[in-house]
Symmetry: C2
Subunit: 170 residues, 2 copies
């Protein structure tokens, strides 16, 4: 099959969100085994001016939800951002996966040169859809998933890169 | 332009390696301003059983060098992995960029369903080229670049996500 805007992006988003959900399972298991409060992890930051774990997960989810929706020209669901526990974060990932599953390949395929205007802080930025998905949305998703992973590893959760790369099949 | 195996991957690798090089510049500037030995950063690990900063950079470089070369069917250059300073790491990134610049789009385009066999620890794994580049090579590159970034942020280097997303144009 020839690569397409859909196949180069949405399945990658889905794959990585599933792996993130698996990583969350390992965090919960670690907190149970070592008998500490899981909120130590969900509120943890790698630096005082970095976002805590919960926000890393929410932003990873929203990056792909809003990014794919903008290119597909559909209205994405909006969520309240009130998740604070691991089960709530897992549900948020699942809601994001549920939305991605509704996207039709034909709504993204052929959009390579479509102008996409999106908010960046208080400003907006416009990029062609291919550049937007591959050099903005995708790097954003990977950034926040990897930062979430790093927070857990820094706190001694027994994860390896295979958990990140292949998830529950690790 | 219709998306292709080349355009979906190699320009993204190049973009992110350039941003990584820019991030290294900011680390050097921080060490100079705060008058500490830059090797504190290059040897830093986020967990005792994680790889240090230098290795994060080298693996990010090798992930894309070897990954793109395998799909293109060309022999990648081999490097000695003896870099330890920021200038050496920047040179390694540049050598990787120089190699990526030699890849011809036509050597990657059309390879979607080509079987790629690659080493994973002591084993090998085989994936179709599209899945290999997008769900193995790309996640690996982003993982190591983001982990390098996280090590610097954890140590107080003044970076923001725009440095990671847009590099020297931040």
């Amino acid at each position: 099959m020839t690569i397409s805007m859909y196949s180069a992006t949405v399945p990658v988003f889905q794959h990585m969100l599933r792996n993130l959900s698996h990583i969350l399972d390992k965090a919960v298991a670690n907190a149970e085994a070592r008998k500490y409060d899981p909120s130590v992890l969900t509120t943890y930051r790698l630096a005082p001016d970095m976002l805590p774990f919960t926000r890393q997960v929410l932003i990873a989810c929203d990056a792909v939800k809003n990014g794919a929706a903008r290119v597909a020209g559909v209205e994405p669901p909006k969520f309240e951002d009130n998740e604070s526990t691991f089960p709530e974060l897992k549900a948020r990932i699942q809601k994001t996966l549920d939305f991605l599953a509704t996207l039709k390949p034909e709504s993204l395929d052929g959009t390579e040169d479509k102008d996409i205007t999106f908010p960046v802080g208080k400003d907006t930025r416009t990029m062609k859809a291919q550049a937007y998905l591959l050099t903005w949305v995708m790097p954003n998703m990977f950034f926040h998933i990897t930062t979430a992973y790093a927070i857990l590893r820094h706190n001694g959760v027994d994860l390896g890169k295979r958990d990140y790369l292949v998830g529950a099949n690790a």
